[in-house]
Symmetry: none
Subunit: 277 residues, 2 copies
DNA sequence: TATAGTAGTGACTAAGCGGTCAATTGTCAA
DNA sequence: TTGACAATTGACCGCTTAGTCACTACTATA
């Protein structure tokens, strides 16, 4: 639906500039050149719009990162992780600005737990990367290391989202790789023990049940034009309901949809579900 | 004045829980057990209250940190820095939560530059500490190091402000000292050069070239509906390009847009430009 | 061309906001 | 007890907001 996308794009521009609360529906519709009524044909409420925006971009981001981290080659893993993350921030800088302007706590309960879950997904990805890269070396220190990685990402992205200076992303990624390696290989003091993580994890809802994935896929299928990607998605949905295909076929279907911008989240969930690395 | 302090305390509790915008003056006065009118005997506006809160706590925090860093003994300097910072967060956790909930950008221009200045003060203190501790070792890397330090502080404080787990502040400080030392003594890649810092320091106060202001105004005009404010902005833009109006008229036009929620920044820049107090 | 049905409009409502001020209450010296 | 003044109140104002809905404009088929 083209209207929906227009509204999301134009609204995001305003949210990035002024924040969510400070932007009225009237402003959004003016900016789109449509009437207020037309807005409510596409979204039930202003809240539904922000939820849609967050889902749209966070799914893409999480899936992008996960794809990079799933790569077999460990050589440039950390570099690729940082590079992809910052490239994604840069590509969707308006959304990144929105997230910077509106910390999770300023939204309602639903959005808070949503963002919390995305954050947990990212944490999981980072932890799996740490384990692959540093193995036992990182056993007790992995949580501290992942906190440091997230800290690096947040301060350095703030730097260039706030002051629109051109960024040498290659150099930035290299410098963060160096920092991360230094910490991973030389740190000795554990501050975040397993028990603490258990407490933090508590409120997280694990919602990767097959039904949920089918839901996501069906929404995607609706929005897609006929294509190889759509066919692949339909086949994968059937496979989810009644497993029948050879793993190699499933993997092939997954790689078909991997790079379709609207399927990244579905691909991520499916990869987890079928345990394909 | 005791009333003023009561209001600040009770308001901070609500701000920490709900955020500044989401807390109404009515809620604050209810929570204090006073009337709405009484609030305005102590504060001229809701904005004056948040300014008072930020000044009160930021001055304390900056002073605390500066005191520790000014200490002659270099032995435990870094440890004391982290320990004091986290102790201060912990002691004034409601204020820390408020700052977490409300990034500088969500406030008006006065508060934004206020917070920016406090941030600069903190940066200066951190940089002087780095220079004392690591001397020439840190010459090219000092800005990167200070960014890492700020990153550590923000991620780890988020950890315990969000999840109210008891924190071993001694262990936390030790672990951050270790991380900082590792980075300071082994990092080789500079990402933030002097030039970048110059750019960052620049824009806030000195960014009053007419072209820039026109840019800001034009963006505002685009997003506004027809109104007295919009007309005023358009006239002010013309005045910026070709001065023709009487100062009194300019002042009047400025006061027209002063309180429009989306013109505050433009009003600020214009006020500076026309030197109207 | 007539018609049915969808897409789009914008004046409108109710609620909530920051801020004001005439009216009320409290205080204390005379 | 009185009266003058200061402190305090909360109904009220003007304004903005998210959301609604009776209406109109379009479009596609018959």
């Amino acid at each position: 639906m083209a209207k929906k996308q227009l509204i999301m794009e134009k609204a995001l521009e305003l949210f990035a500039k002024q924040g969510f609360e400070a932007t009225s529906v009237q402003q959004i519709t003016d900016h789109c050149g449509i009437s207020k009524g037309a807005f409510y044909l596409s979204f039930k409420s202003k809240d539904e719009l922000i939820v849609a925006l967050i889902d749209h971009f966070m799914r893409q981001f999480t899936a992008d990162i996960d794809f990079v981290v799933s790569d077999k080659n460990e050589e440039d893993l950390l570099y690729n992780f940082y590079y992809t993350a910052f490239q994604s921030f840069s590509k969707h800088s308006d959304f990144a600005k929105l997230l910077m302007k509106e910390p999770a706590q300023s939204f309602n309960e639903e959005l808070f737990s949503k963002l919390h879950n995305y954050n947990k997904s990212l944490e999981k990805v980072i932890l799996s990367m740490i384990e692959r890269l540093y193995g036992d070396l990182s056993k007790d220190l992995k949580y501290d290391l992942s906190f440091c990685i997230k800290g690096f990402m947040s301060t350095y992205s703030e730097l260039y989202l706030l002051y629109k200076t051109p960024i040498d992303m290659d150099l930035l990624s290299q410098s963060l790789v160096e920092k991360t390696n230094l910490l991973a290989k030389n740190m000795t003091i554990t501050f975040i023990p397993d028990e603490l993580i258990e407490i933090i994890d508590q409120p997280l809802i694990e919602d990767t049940s097959s039904e949920k994935i089918v839901e996501v896929i069906e929404k995607n299928i609706e929005d897609m034009e006929d294509s190889i990607e759509k066919e692949s998605l339909i086949l994968l949905k059937q496979e989810l309901l009644e497993p029948a295909l050879h793993p190699a076929i499933v993997k092939g279907l997954l790689s078909n949809i991997q790079h379709h911008p609207h399927c990244k989240w579905a691909a991520y969930l499916l990869r987890k579900h079928f345990e394909i690395k």
